[in-house]
């Protein structure tokens, strides 16, 4: 077992594989099915109540400042618009490197997240900074292309210098029960990534049930995902607190049974510092403090950063500030 693991009591752990000491190496679709079938169902009411309860924690003033800085350091600053231009991405990269020009003590964000054709430009703009470049690949956001096309998409982004790849799973295949196909795709993409980190987008808004979220999380982790991510941000139901809770339970339980720590990225619809702080509470209370770092938890967001910076500046100046203090992109 990994030394990273916090001590988890039996009561803490909702799900266990048959034999936690021996992580399953998946050899066949049958075996995959049996592993996923062995996962307990999610208590939907319980998960929602737990998430709502955690949202009532009050993080203010002295503890809010470090929370805000932690959030900034966990942000994947994202632009995924058809109208993106290299110039817009360059300006976003500058912002990622130094989010608040008023205050050099502001941490850089974790990464910028762009379409593959904009990776090279972002990479060169970020030379000498700690900010990674993430690319969405595999026919983002729908994932509706042949495996060959998806792999080319990934190879292209990796060749352009992407440090992280955000792939989407084939939700159609998952929902119609072709789990082996989804698994194989993730394995193939992972090997196409080389040294790049792989984030697997489950698009939980399209998975319908929490049980599906839990199964898809395990499937992705078994297939080698470095991160599991909630959403593309392109469907109406994006990240929600209960879904994040279920995914964090999954990474916790996966770590418990395999010793490998998998990260979680919540994306889509997180616009306020208040929401982000609520997610931090859920992370800490569900997966544990080991996940409270950018290597294991990320926010995929664009407008969130400005709200966090405004709150931060408000603490510094003592007055409410205007949104125009910070650039839109």
């Amino acid at each position: 077992m990994s030394t990273y693991l916090r001590v988890v009591s039996d009561a803490d752990v909702g799900v266990r594989l048959a034999d936690p000491a021996r992580p399953p190496s998946i050899a066949s679709e049958t075996q995959l099915r049996s592993v996923l079938a062995s996962l307990a169902g999610v208590d939907a009411v319980g998960a929602e109540a737990r998430a709502a309860k955690l949202a009532t924690r009050s993080i203010k003033t002295a503890s809010k400042r470090p929370a805000l800085d932690t959030i900034i350091s966990m942000i994947d600053l994202t632009t995924l618009e058809g109208a993106d231009t290299p110039e817009r991405v360059a300006s976003m990269c500058d912002k990622a490197r130094r989010p608040d020009p008023h205050d050099p003590s502001t941490p850089s964000v974790a990464a910028v997240c762009v379409y593959p054709d904009l990776v090279a430009g972002a990479k060169s703009r970020l030379v000498g900074s700690s900010v990674a470049v993430a690319a969405v690949a595999t026919a983002f956001p729908s994932g509706r292309a042949s495996l060959a096309v998806k792999l080319l998409d990934v190879a292209d982004a990796v060749a352009a210098g992407a440090d992280e790849i955000d792939m989407v799973i084939d939700r159609g295949a998952f929902l119609s029960g072709r789990l082996g196909q989804v698994f194989d795709e993730i394995v193939s993409v992972k090997s196409a990534c080389g040294t790049a980190h792989l984030k697997v987008i489950l698009e939980t808004g399209e998975l319908v049930t929490y049980d599906n979220v839990r199964r898809a999380s395990w499937l992705a982790m078994l297939a080698g995902a470095d991160f599991i991510k909630t959403s593309t941000g392109k469907v109406s139901v994006a990240a929600t607190a209960p879904v994040a809770l279920v995914m964090l339970e999954a990474v916790r339980d996966f770590a418990e049974s395999t010793g490998r720590l998998v990260g979680v990225k919540v994306a889509g619809g997180i616009r306020s510092a208040k929401d982000a702080i609520r997610y931090l509470v859920i992370v800490n209370e569900t997966a544990g403090s080991a996940w409270m770092r950018p290597e294991l938890f990320r926010f995929g967001a664009s407008s969130l950063l400005n709200d966090v910076l405004m709150q931060r500046l408000r603490q510094t100046r003592g007055v409410y500030v205007r949104p125009e203090e910070f650039s839109a992109d």
Partner: protein
Amino acid sequence: MSERLDVRKTYKLVINGAFVRSESGRSYEVRNAAGEFWANVAQGSRKDVRDAVKAARAAQAGWWTATAYNRGQVLFRLAEMAEARREELSQHVAAAEGVGGADAHASVARGIDRIVWYAGWTDKVAQVLGGANPVAGPFFNFSLPVPSGVVGVLAPQDSSFEGFVDTVLAPLAVGNAVVVATSETRPTPGLLLGEMSATSDFPAGVLNVISGLTRELAPTLASHEDVDGLDLEGAGDDHDELAAAAAASIKRVRRAGAGDYAASSTSRLRSFVETSTVWHTIGR
């Protein structure tokens, strides 16, 4: 049969077109001029001010780009709503200000007439405050009055309806969005007018009404950097301090006046406008 119980009303804030209890959950007791219990009123907090300013900022552009005629219609509609509730307003003014029924009625009537007066001004300010400037060159040169943006108003502490109407309607008429802190001890007529705005086609966020302790609300409103103008009519003793706080973010500040709200002066109308000057070539 048992005696019917009164349905008592707690007066709520108007923020972004919604009637909300304060973010803080607090309320306070308002007493009439004789010192008897009059109503429970939501006690706004600095976060309510923050939310209101955010709503006002989002609403202001739409309010200004609506036609002046349309703004006039909306303000006139507010007068229509107030007219229908004159009796209720008069009772509140009488209780708050300790005046007799006839005086309260007269005061409310003047206030409603003032709303109509401001409604009429919406499509006339441009002609009066703007104009064509003669320039030595082949250009048209126009000066146009444009709104300051988001205006914070500390409504008069004494004149609960007339004063409220005058300080709030003036910035609205020229296209500003308003966040108003009511009189601390006489808030109900202003809150009622806020309720009426909900049935007067006001876009959400254009008029936000917050009741509470002036010493809590005023500093936040004065120091908020996203507020462009501040009317200090109801500031009281903290007047100069608030003006200084407003200066830090270069707000347009209107200092407290003599309190004659009935006089048909356009001075308040001129308080929260900027002048935008446009050059345009003369064609052939």
